[in-house]
Each structure stands twice: as C-alpha cells, then as structure tokens.
Amino acid sequence: MTAQPKKRSVIESGDGGLGLGLALFISNGEDLGPIIRHGFDSGKPEALMQNLRSIVKKKEVEIEELCRLHYEDFILAVDELRGVLVDADELKGMLTGENIHLQKVSSATLLNLDELFELYSIKKNIGEAITTLKICVKVISLCMACNGYIAEAKFHPALKTLDTIEKGYLKNIPLKLLKKVVAKHIPLIKMHIEKKVCSEFNDWLVHIRRMAKQIGQVSISQASMARQKDEEMRARKREAEAHSDARSDEHVYTLDVENTDEESTLNFDLTPVYRAHHMHICLGIGEKFRDYYYKNRLMQLNLDMQISTSQPFLESHQPLLAQVAGFFIVEQRVLRSADGLLSESQVESTWETAIAKITSILEDQFARMSIASHLLLVKDYVTLLGTTVSKYGYQIAQLIQVIAKYKDKYHQLLLIESRKQIDDILANDSYEQMIIKKEYEYNMNVTAFHFEPDDVVPEFPYVAPFSSGVPDICRIVRSFIGDSVSYFSYSARTNIYEIVKGYLDRLLIEVLNDSLLNMVYARSLAMSQMMQLAGNISVLEQSCDMFLLYSAQLCGIPKRIAQRSHSGLTAKAVLKASQNAAYNSLINLANFKIDEFMVLLDDVNWIVEEAPDNPNEYMNEVLIYLETLVSTAQEILPLEALYKMVSGAMSHISDSIMTTLLNEGVKRFTVNAVMGLDIDLKLLEAFAEEKFYRTGLVDLGKETTFADCLVEIRQLVNLLLSSQPENFMNPVIRGRNYGSLDYKKVAIVCDKYKDFADGLFGSLSNRNKQDARKRSMDVLKRRLKDFS
C-alpha cells in the first residue's frame, strides 16, 4: 500500500523520455548493464550519468519523506518489540523451572523410553533377518526337495524345482555366498540329471535291443498262425469243392466257429523313452536328444544286421529278420506315441536303409544256396517278415522283388533235385506191373492219382497197367508242384497259375521226359521191361491233365474253370512223342530179337531132295517168341501200339526171308525148299490171323491186317510153286496175284531156282509134270533177262 503511491508520484514527475525509460527499467528490476555499455560505447556517457544522478536525487528525497512519515510508527513498534522481549524472558524463566521440575519427575520414564527405542531397532533388525532367512530357508528347502527328488530319481519334479529356484528365487537371494553356490550348482545338477536320464535311456536301449528279437518273433509267429488259418480254410474249401463235384446235388456248408482271440502282442515299455525325451525338452535340449536317439538306434540296427560269420545263414536268418522286424515295430510305436521324437521321414529313411541291406544279404545268400528247400525256408520267413512289417505301414516291394528275382534259381534247384529223384526211381524200377493186394495200397497208388475213375471198386489183387515207378514219379511231380506254389505263395500278387504251369512243363519235359528217353535209349531193358516203360509213359502222359488240375487247385483256381481252360501242358505232346519213341524202340528191340531167331535161316537146307513135313526150326522159335510177345504186350500196351509192334514184327520177318533168298549165302534152292517156306508161312499167317481177331485189333478198323504184312514173301512163294510161273509177265495176272513183287528181286531169285530134273536121280512118274513147269520157268527167266 505504501509502494503504490511511490510509483504514481514517479510517473507524475514528467521528466524527459530517457529518464522515464531508465526509471521504468529500474522499477522493473531489470539489468542496466547493456544500457550503460551502450552509453559508453556510443561515446556519450555524460547524459546517462546526468540522468542517473537525477534518479538518485529523486529517490533520496522519496526515502527521506518516507522516513519522516513512518518515524513515529517505527518508534512505537520498537517499544512493542521490547515489551515482547521482556515477556519472553519471563516466559523463558518459567519454562526453565518447569523443565527442571519435569526432568526430576520423569527421568525414570525417559530411561524406559530409551530402552523402548532400542528394542524397536532390534525388532527391525530381527525382522530383516527373518525375512532374509525365510528366503534362504525357502531356497534351501527347495534345494533339499530337489536333492530328494534326485535321490529318488524323480527327475521331472527335480527339474521343476530347479526351474523354480532359478527363475523365482535366484536373483533375490540376499546372501551373496549362498547365491553364488546355488547359481554354480544349478547347471551342474542339470548336467547330472541329463547324465542320469541318458544312462537310464541307454539301459533301455540295451533292453529294447534284446527285446526286439522277441517282439519280432512273436509278431512273425502271429503272422504265421494267421497264415495257417488261411491254409486250413482254403483246404476245407477245396474239399468242399471236390465233394460237390462228385455229388452235384449235395451242397456241403460248414460253419466253423474257431476261437479267434489273438495272442496279445508283447507290451514293451517305452516309458524310459518318453521320460528321457520329456526331460531333455525340459532341459532345453530336446533336439540333442532326438538326434542322439536317431543316431544310436541307427547304429544298433546296423550292428543287428551284420551277418553272423560263425553260424550258417540257414540258422542265423530267422533271428536276424526277427530282430529287424522287432526293431521297426518299436520304431513305429515310438513314432506314433513319442510326440515328435521321430519323424515319418526318419523312420522311412531307416527302413529303406534296412530293406536295402536285407535285400543285399538275401541276394548274396540266395546266390550261394544249393538246396531248394533251404531257399524256400528263407523265402517263407522273408514273406512272414513282409507280412508282419507291412501291417505297420512299411513298404515291402523290394522283398517281393528279391523273391521274384530268384524264382528261376529256386526252380532250377528243384529241377535238379527232382531229376536226381526221378533218375533213382527209373534206375530202381523193376518195370513189372504193380500187383496191389490191399485197399490202402490201392488208395495210395491208384486213387490218389485218379488212374481209375474214383467210383470204381477194384477187385483184389489189382493188376495195374503201370509199374511201381509211376506213382512214385507222380508223387515227385506233385511235390514239385506244391513246392513251386509254396515259393510264390504270399509273395506274388499276380496270377501264379501260369507261372507254375510253365515250371511244371519244364519239369515234365526237361527232367521227366529226358530221363524217360534216356531209359528208352539206354538198351538196358528187356523186351517186357521196355513194354512196361512204354506203358508207363502212356500213363504219365495221361497224368498231365491230373497234374494241371492239381496245380490249379493249389493256385486257388476252381476246378470248373481249370477244366474249362483249353490251354494244356506242352509236356503232354512231348510225352506222347516219347511214347512213340518207346514204341519204336520196342519194335526195334523185337526185330532185333527176331533177327536172333532168323539167323537160323542160315541152317536151312535149300537143296533138300524131299518135300518137308514140318516147319523149319527158325520158324518154331519165332512163333514161340511172338506168342510171348503178343500175350505180354496185350496186357500192357494200348491197341494202337500193339498193332504197330506186331505189324512191324511181321514185316520184319517177311523182309528177313526175302533178304535171305536174295543174299549171296543162298546159291541155289529147290522146289522142295520153297515148299518148306510155304509151310512156315502158313503157320505164321495162321498165327497172325488168330491174333488179329483175338486181341480185338480188328475193331480198330485197320485196312491192313497182320497177314497183309507177309504179302511180299507170300506172293514170291506162290510164284515159285506155280505150275505156270511165266504168267508173272502177264500184266493182268501179275497185278492180281504178284502186285508186291519187284522185277529185279524176282529175276535174282528165279536164277537160283533149280529143279530136280537137273539131279542125277529123277522120278520117272513126275517127269512130265516137272517138264511143263520147267519150261514155263525157263520162259520166265528168259523174259526177265530180256526185260532187265
């Protein structure tokens, strides 16, 4: 209130402009430095100084006036203050007294208060200590819990506890030493856990490697049992089919309810794997464990697939393959259940590695095997392996390919074995008709191969058209078919019937037929044995259809379809040809035997002087032989073969006699000798006629009879005995009576013809007759000479 009037008076003074400005600056409290510097810089400081002095004078005047105005108030105020001072002094004295009094009274209480303050301080310290200790206790108790878990091998809670310590408490541990120790030990403990878990996992690896073989064996045996059930069902179906074929009206249906509860697969324990994987994930090194798992399992697999050098493959292949099967069953389970431990591509890659190794081993071993049943044994186990692992999703095409690749080798071995067996049978066969006395023998050797219609009831003893070798060979052939089908079963997706047919053809052609031909050409068999061999070939040829049906049956093709099929075995035609070869051998053999008797022709007296009453010796022998031959052949050979053989024999005899007459061995002969030949021929012709009708050959409708085979020699003899031999030159008569005769042959024979007239002692009673024939013969001789 005082200041405001001052300001108004200053403004009202009305000094110059500069002065006003300066006054304004000063009243605002602003810095006058720049103005003063400006004044001195401009060189005119006197004006500024003058103005400043004016302002100073004005201010002094104002101050003096103000002092005069307030002097009295100031004096009054000072007096008042002095009064207050006195009052204060009085109060001070009073307070001092009160304080002294209070001190005396309250000293005890003050002591208590000090104690109280001290206790509060202690309380605070203790509180802090307790807080610190609580943290430490918590941490240490967690550590102890962790230790407990580790001691009990409960690594997951141990790891959780470690995590809690590390994340929740480590930074807040107030004690530096404890903090340091804990910080140091956490990674050590983690490492320890990792080591323990890995050790446990390694134990599992050892365990599962041992178990893998059992797992594989159980799985494969389950596949094997399933296969057996399939076989049983198939067999029942075949029986039902055969049965319904016999009695078409009756349909046999069997509802067979078997106990189908499967043996439970071994429940192998993967807990250590899950545990280890999970622990490694918690430790933050899941990838490391996955890598470790994959590499070590791969190494285990490679070890397991090393071929045992101390054991033959035939013994070692099953444990080997079972081990591999078990390995991959485990891997599949791990893949499905271990949540990312294995990837699909890893398992597939491992499987490809394994199957490539297995196929390599199999190829190597198959190439070295020399017994078909060994190859079949391994193949069966391989297909079981394939069946087993394909259920778990593994590709087995390569296994199938290996088996298909070695089918030729397998069948080659089978053929070799079969050849040996068949050769043994043929070498040991007696080549006599089997005589079967008992029904079981009949069933085993006749019914089994359908040699007779199934509904025929035989009378015993039954005389078979074949020798004992035939059913034995049939058993081998059926065994071959079975073995062939066995090789393809469960390993071929396509129709195996055509393939099996092909191999069957090879067996029958390359093995059986070759062996039979060897016997045919070996010249080690007697006539009856050769006949039996020919008969055997006939039966075997007929059996081709049975073999074909059997093949179809085993290949699962219904009988109706197989019977309807028009394509048969090539072997049937080949055996037919061999049969003919056998017949030809028979004929040759018979002719050879006949030659032994025909040699007796050399003993004939071609210039005998009297007509003989009896046949020549050679003819007796020949007839006896022929009788035996025909009676034996009649029982064994088919009519066609019988016809061919006897016809051949007759022709051969005819040719032999003709040849003898033509040969140098006979220089001349008489009419009496010709009469002897006539007697011989009559006997032979009678035999031929009788056999032709008695054996039923007449029913074949052949134009040529057995007697017709003798026509050449018959006509020659007729000519030589004719009263007018010159008629041979008459075309009409020759065509009718002597059509089989050759000019040259007749000429040669006639030259050797000498009558008794040339002898010294002729019969007078026959002179005239003989002369007539002689003249006629002479005419013929001359004409034949002229003709030639």
């Binding site: 390694n202 134990d203 050892v206 070590n296 190494m299 090393q306």
Partner: protein, 216 residues
C-alpha cells in the same frame, strides 16, 4: 615317503597297449596317466608313451606305458617296441566284433616279438556303449579262459575299470618279479651257508640283495 623324489622307484615296468585301430588305446592311456579323455581322438602315429607311479603291496612301481598304432601301416615299426615289455593290454572294442576277432592275430604278434612270459590282459573297451554291444561278455570270458589271459571290460570315457586293469597287470608282474627276487635271495643264502665262516662272503650278501633291487 617325504624323503623320496619323483624319479625314485622300486621297479620300472614297461607295458604295451596293442589292438586294432580305433578301439580306444590312447584314451585308456590318457585316462590312466592323466585322468583325461578326448572325444575327438585322432589315430596314433607310431608310438607314444607316458608314465605313472603307483604303490603296489608297499612297493613303488613306475609304469611306463607304450601306446602303439593299431593301423596296419605302422606294424613294422611298432613291433620293435615289444622289446623289454613285461606286460601287455590287448584292447578290443565291444561294439565292433571284428576287433575282437582280430585279438587272435595280436596275440600271435605278441608271442612272435615279445617275451614269452609277458603278462597279457585282454580289455574290452567302450563298455559305456552297452546298447551297441556286438561282443557278448561271455565270449570275452570264454576266449580269455581258453588263452590263459586276464579279461576286463573297461570304459575310458567313464573311467570304469581302467585303474583296475593296470593295477591287475602290474600286481601280477610284481608277483612274478618278487618270486624271482626271492629265488635269487635263496640262492645267495645257500651260497652263504655252504661257505659259512668266511668273513668276506658275509659282507657280500647285502650287496647282492641291493644289486638285485637295482637291476630290477
């Protein structure tokens, strides 16, 4: 003990480590002499050796262990190092069947080049890789019994049985050497007894004993 310096010992035994390449001979050596294991081992070239002194039955034994190259191309030079060896560790790898099958060849090598009385222990190393085992332990035992060897499975990685293997071999060698020393003493004693009464002979006996120790 306080009075001894490092190079004082009662016996110095030379031991050779032999076996196929890669079975872990060098790691067995380093584990025993320096307690170290090297995961990334490289093939030994020629021969290396290290020593370690230990106490066996109150005696200070200095084991001088020679680590040989298992590879075929070093065979010519390594055979020289059999000379003077009193013990051998014949090492195979339990995860590699071939290394076990080759033990027979290594034995023949030993018998051709080393002392006939050398003490041999067969060692199946890498027992920590039990899950990759391809040589059953029974096979090892059967073979060692047939050949008259000691047998142990070891893990240089986990330091299992390494100490025990060397200790067994060295103890056996020490027993043999001790028997020889005892026989020598008996011989000296016999000589002493037969020439009883001569002052000079009595004085020689202690010297002979000391000499025996020094020469061993």
């Amino acid at each position: 003990m306080a009075h001894r310096v490092d190079n004082e010992y009662d016996y110095l035994f030379k031991i050779v480590l032999i076996g196929d390449s890669g079975v872990g001979k060098s790691n067995i050596l380093s584990r025993f002499t320096r307690n170290e294991f090297f995961l990334e081992s490289k093939s030994t070239i020629g021969v290396e050796f290290a020593t370690r002194t230990l106490q066996i039955e109150g005696k200070t034994i200095k084991a001088q262990i020679w680590d040989t190259a298992g590879q075929e191309r070093y065979r010519a030079i390594t055979s020289a190092y059999y000379r003077g060896a009193v013990g051998a560790l014949l090492v195979f790898d339990i995860t590699k069947r071939q290394t076990f099958d080759n033990v027979q060849r290594w034995l023949r090598e030993l018998r051709d080049h080393a002392d006939a009385n050398i003490v041999v222990m067969m060692v199946g190393n890498k027992s920590d890789l039990n899950h990759l085992r391809s040589v059953p332990e029974e096979d090892g035992h059967a073979f060692s019994e047939k050949e008259g060897l000691s047998f142990l499975e070891t893990s240089a990685l986990e330091a299992i049985n390494v100490e025990k293997a060397f200790h067994t071999v060295l103890s056996e060698i020490h027993q043999i050497v001790s028997k020889k020393a005892l026989a020598a003493q008996e011989s000296a004693s016999t000589n002493g007894r037969s020439m009883q009464g001569t002052t000079i002979n009595v004085a020689e006996a202690p010297a002979a004993t000391k000499g025996s120790c020094c020469s061993s």
